[in-house]
Amino acid sequence: MFGVGGEILWVDMTKGKIEKVPIDEELVNKYLLGAGYLSKILYDMIPAGTDPLGKKNILGIATGLLTGSMFPQASRHVVAALSPLTDVWGESHAAGFFGAELKFAGYDAIMFTGASSDPLYLNIEDSKVELLDASHLWGKDVFETDDILRKDHDRQFRTLSIGQAGENLVRFSAIMNDRDRASARSGLGAVMGSKKIKAVSVKGTGKLEVADPKNYLKQMDIFYERMMANPFTPGRVKYGTTSLVEMMQHIGRLPSYNMKQGVFDGYEKISGEAINEKYLVKARADFSCLQRCGRYTAVRKGPYAFEGGSPEFETQSSMGSRCGNDNLESILFGHHLANQYGMDTISLGGTISWAMEAWDEGLLTAEDTGGIDLSWGNAETIIKLTKMIALREGFGDVLADGSAAAAERIGRGTEKFVMTVKKQEIAGQEPRAQKSMGLAAVTAARGADHLYAFPVLDEAGFDKEIKERFGEQYLPEMADRLNPKYKGIMVKECEDFMVMVESVGLCKYGTQIPPEFYYDDIALTLKIHNGLNFTGNQLQEIGERIVNLNRLFNARFGVTRKDDCLPDRLTKEKAPLGPSAGEVVELDQMLTEYYDVRGWDQETGLPLKETLERLGLDYE
């Protein structure tokens, strides 16, 4: 096969053994690479009853079929395992340069099994692959680890690592790469920590051979021109995702005060404009990236001084409006700290905001918190708790297991303020203001998640794309973010497409929003880059197969329709303020439509036998 590294590294952490296994082309034909490939391997190897932090969990890191190619935004890699936060399928993705570098070294994926008793790191320099002592790195943060590894080897190495949060098994700890790129969701940093894997350092000097070089170069030029000419591109370069704060405020979709409401009085203070005005250093691009939504920012003086990676919309919302916090410097610094310790800022802010609401309601007191004042908007507290959670100190230890576990431990009625699905904190989309996002959060395999489907077609006026992808008969309802009609159909289609995109290593920016590239563009590139012959329809079916396989994985851990639910606040309490005031999420209606188009049983929410047979999936 062309355009791949060619081998998978299997690393047994218990025995310290490394094996190189050729990529399984039969699996690629059914699941592609990336998320799909890992879905199949982990489904086959992780039985019911597995402890997410035990030796039997398996951690996979995989590139996609196009990672390292010249396709716009072909920078992605995926990590997956049984999640210690949700106890179901765990998966997370990141950009950067690590994935491409791994491929250039000759490897498409790394599978970690077992657990070591002492800290180790995996060092890869083309064909030389070794497990090395990491005792000098244990206890170091992500930036220190990157500095040491690149000093000890050379500056050309790319690193992926955990910080103290992963070492301390914080259940929403991230796996970081290239310093400030995060595979943040699902708490997979803790799986890495439980196996005592501190880092992976990689340098690859090999080349990717492509199937049809002449047409490949010609086609990539065309894709380059299309991406650069897309009307979204200039704004992405200028603001990244930070200007979403203003947009979301104006549709009432900016989660504020632990999702009590979707508008925040202080939104202008934490907006993209505010970041650009005083703190932006420059935009940054990852491998093959033309959207350049990453950026660097700096706070030059004061208690929150730093220079480094900049938050995206999710962190502005989670550590800002969600906590009632309009102190922008504290958000920028808090994000930097979360990267340094290696934590998911969505679950971090979601957990702190749960505690703030419980405090506001008088259900948590200074006795519980060790004297920490959890008043809404207390920036000092947010920063203090970020450190305490990573290090599992004091009240931070309670919060380090996420808001669902913390509420279970505290009790006293604090459970009703938990804004999670399957124990993962809901991301920055107030679903009463965009119904598709509410459905997507409950159907996503990894628990609350906006990205598994990323159903943004009803958000910013993609009527034309809806007409092309679905048909005119679905308009105007499908394009209306407040109308639950046809959202089951939309979320299903978006999930199939997005998991396929995640299996070829592309970004959702450029495929879903803006919706520039679709199935046929990817099928064409797989042909000229990898020498694989898929039609657009076959790629859609692969996406559908992966979604169903993820559902079967979760069924093994007890998931049924009863788990596909949102907090009562979002389905029963009307949004109190703003442009979406009076709205609730009509979840049952959308879920019924979704199960119907998925071919899943309405009562159990599990795939029907004929659905699995159609997709060529074995079932238990």
Partner: protein
């Protein structure tokens, strides 16, 4: 005529030079004409598609948080105190 508050964001704000403006108009179509008159050529070049005189693709115009495409488009009638927002292409999560 209705008196409405028009808010500008991101690259649109860069060409208007102001965050918002109060303006009188009967419909969104008329409001956009007035905005072009007030802010001149640079505003028109940034926001308006010369082939049809409407907003460029993916630019969002909202009245009280609702996209005009889901109302009566450019014929949507404005009433006093409506909040109109004008965004360049932006979206996601």
């Amino acid at each position: 005529m209705a008196r409405v508050l028009v808010k500008f964001f991101a690259t649109v704000r860069e060409v208007t030079g102001v965050k918002n403006i109060e303006m009188d108009a009967d419909t969104i179509g008329q409001l956009l004409d007035n905005l072009q008159e007030t802010f001149g050529e640079r505003f028109t070049q940034t926001v308006i598609d010369p082939s049809n005189g409407k907003l460029k693709q993916f630019f969002s115009c909202m009245i009280n948080g609702k996209r005009i495409e889901l109302l009566d488009g450019y014929d949507t009638i404005l009433v006093d105190d409506d909040a109109v927002a004008l965004f360049p292409p932006v979206g996601g999560g």
